[in-house]
Symmetry: C3
């Protein structure tokens, strides 16, 4: 995993870190504290790794000031080592740049607008009226529907589908297999059958958004589904029609949000979470993995609901009791009353 | 979102609604009660929206007879406004028709049968022995395997996969990325390793079915997996081998049904529901989102199991207690007996 | 479903079964005990099917020695009838072999290495530096990224994506729509926004692995995500970055494992299970469907957590009580103490 070659001091300067120790040591790639070799740049962001830090074979380490005394090699001191590491990794391992232009097998409609610096991969399809911004990248087999827009520097990975009339903001990423703009799940009852409700809204994805592999974001019924700037959706997340996900909210794998729910800004949603439709989640809410959210949450804070795994025989006994929990509670109440009465009589 | 242009009276007639008010007003598109402008047709199906109804800038509104007095504009009166709206939306905003025929890059096997009115998109692949019905639409990059059948008017969206030997009924829709006919998950134990059990059945999908984006429906082991007429599966639903989903059942996003289970007709399954294998769910069962169904359900009705989300510190305390629920119950029983005995002794 | 034609005795010999009854009867396909016709080979692995066994119209049945007396036709006696059946099905219904070579529309980079016995399908894309082993099969529209390796006899189904720098072992299968090697979900906090942490590791998939339709396996952050030999992942499973799944472990549909967790060998994970990050699951652990695993499991055994579905009105009452479970427990404790004190006083 060879990267580019930097002196510790040049890298520190670029990252806004203080460089302590041999400023001329060269770093060529990122690595773990334990697994690094010569040229390796590691990071340490927690006391838990001090032992590994003290023994690291890395050439330099990004760490907090508090950890610097334990660092046996050049230290790049940062208040936020993980963030500095993220940026260092980007500098040491830049994504290979793609030649601009269209692969000869890319099918681009005559009335699509493609910035000359964009790259359109093999077997990609860009329909009429679509526009692709500067430096955007449409990978192999990706599909951009009629009238859709892909912002500058955005990246549609292989086999992604951006349906008709949707917008992807600048610098946003759709990972492989993601589908943005498929129909919302809307049907009207007609006796025992269901009549499709045409889904006429679109999807508006902001800037600097990531949408994970095989994730799905449905188009709105009448108005748009909205993913605001800086949102990060993990693989296989599902966003239903007319949901709004607030800026800088992150949602982990396989979680789903049902229709017309509004999720606030800067929320953190764990994996396998189900959020029901037509509710509102406040800004700054954190939801633990596997939680079912069935009511609005009006206060920032941390919320959870999953039952902890236990050995099967115990689980089976407890789960059966749960089915009568209210009944047991009423018996507890009755018993409290009986005992209170007996106690009273004793006193009398 | 301009659509076609109708007079209120012509539209009402087509929908089977009574038209009250200015019968000549023109409607050109559907819209929300609050967001409509001139030419907008909105709907109102609930008392909760009466205030919006009274103030609507729409040109006409589909509503119940009970809501008509509150409607300041032309009313199209219906017993089922949402259904009438769904149909109106389809009339005002018809899907753009595609030219019949094959894109020059579509790869169609010589012995596949393609109706001349079908449309086969760019980079689609149709293998040998497959048949595509009248007016069917196979979008960009879709795959139709050997010997499969796509019914009249059916629509395979971009990047869908219909594996070998499966059938999609007339007017059914596979949304982008859906996979129908991948192998069921069947393995036989051989010491510590697992031997694949060939999955030799197919998938039979009825008429007027929708299968959501990135959903998966596995082929049967020996006999077919069956999705009956009118079923609607949302995005990322998973249907395992040899499941049968009864007619007009709807299943919301990310729910899964394990192998050989039979789900009745006209069921409604919420999102993130897990239904275990080899069980039977009666007709007319409604299952709330995030419910685990581990036993057969023999009676129509509503069923649920998710724990409600709560603030983390409370959840943590309660979840720990759950691990001893049976023990607590036994202590409650013992206490009831002690108190009964004491009471008895007091009486004696 | 016609297959190849075998005599019972030849098939028994190949499977290592004892053949009891007419050794010359011909079998041409596999079938169910109840649904078989002439030429059909069924299997019976459980007492529960003895009645069907006794009435089977099959030409031969694979069964245990204990079931042989109930078998009215030729019996192929095996200690593990389901395993013998799996193999018989493979012999009777071999997958049609594909011609080796590249479809004329397959795009293979000049510096990719393709074994001459491999088959590369239409519109498949193989990037530079990739290598495809002997007899491997890359189906229509599949994508193999720069520098990736596909082992001998491996099979990438239609529309699969193998991202750059990943390895698929010999005889492994990626089902349609599966994505291996998309970015792990790693972001560093920068005030309210999130900075992407470059995902520089790869994915290493062992031999004889299956990865289900629309499943996702993310690349590691620094080191690799590892799926060991013989692992079977069902449709829509999600494996996050730097997870290790031990050999011969099976994971059912829609389950997910969060980052850096290690799952042991020979585990069995049900569907819709969520396993949190940075934990360790021992070898031989079985986890029931819809379980939330939030802590390491150090002992082989069976674990579960889902609440059982119940009728909605009862569920609602019980779920409300759960929110006060700890409080109720404390009241039970207090009551126990009161009663103990009263009892004591009575005795005195």
């Amino acid at each position: 995993m060879a990267g580019t070659d930097w002196s510790a001091t040049a890298l520190a300067q670029r990252l806004g870190c203080e460089c302590v120790g041999d400023a001329h040591v060269r770093v060529t790639h990122v690595a773990t504290l334990a697994g690094a070799g010569p040229g390796g740049l590691a990071f340490c962001a927690s006391d838990a790794y001090r032992e590994q830090l003290a023994a690291t074979p890395a050439s330099a380490v990004i760490c907090r000031a508090a950890d610097r005394p334990y660092c046996p090699v050049t230290a790049l001191v940062s208040d936020n080592p993980y963030l500095a590491y993220a940026r260092a990794a980007g500098l040491l391992h830049p994504e290979p740049s793609l030649a601009a232009g269209r692969h000869e097998t890319a099918l681009v409609a005559a009335d699509a607008t493609i910035d000359p610096t964009a790259s359109i991969g093999p077997y990609a399809v860009v329909e009429g009226g679509a526009s692709i911004g500067a430096g955007a990248r449409i990978d192999a087999g990706a599909f951009v529907g009629r009238g859709s827009h892909v912002g500058a520097g955005a990246h549609l990975h292989p086999r992604t589908v951006l349906a008709v009339g949707c917008r992807i903001g600048a610098s946003s990423v759709l990972h492989a297999g993601a589908v943005v703009g498929s129909d919302g799940f809307g049907f009207a009852r007609d006796g025992e059958r269901w009549e499709k409700v045409p889904q006429l809204g679109g999807v508006v994805v902001g800037e600097d958004v990531e949408i994970g592999a095989n994730a799905t974001v449905d188009r709105g019924a009448l108005e748009d589904t909205v993913i605001e700037d800086g949102v990060k959706l993990d693989d296989q997340v599902h966003i239903a029609h007319n949901v709004r996900v607030g800026a800088h909210t992150v949602i982990a794998g396989q979680s789903g949000i049902a229709g017309s729910t509004t999720l606030g800004r800067c929320c953190q949603v764990g994996g396998h979470v189900a959020i029901t439709g037509h509710i509102r989640i406040a800004d700054g809410v954190a939801i633990y993995g596997m939680t079912a959210v069935t009511n609005s949450i009006t206060q920032a804070g941390q919320y959870a609901s999953p039952m902890p795994a236990q050995e099967v025989s115990g689980w089976r006994r407890n789960a059966v009791r749960f089915l009568k929990l209210d009944d047991h509670y009423r018996r507890l109440l009755a018993l409290e009353k009986t005992v209170r009465d007996m106690h009273q009589r004793d006193e009398d």
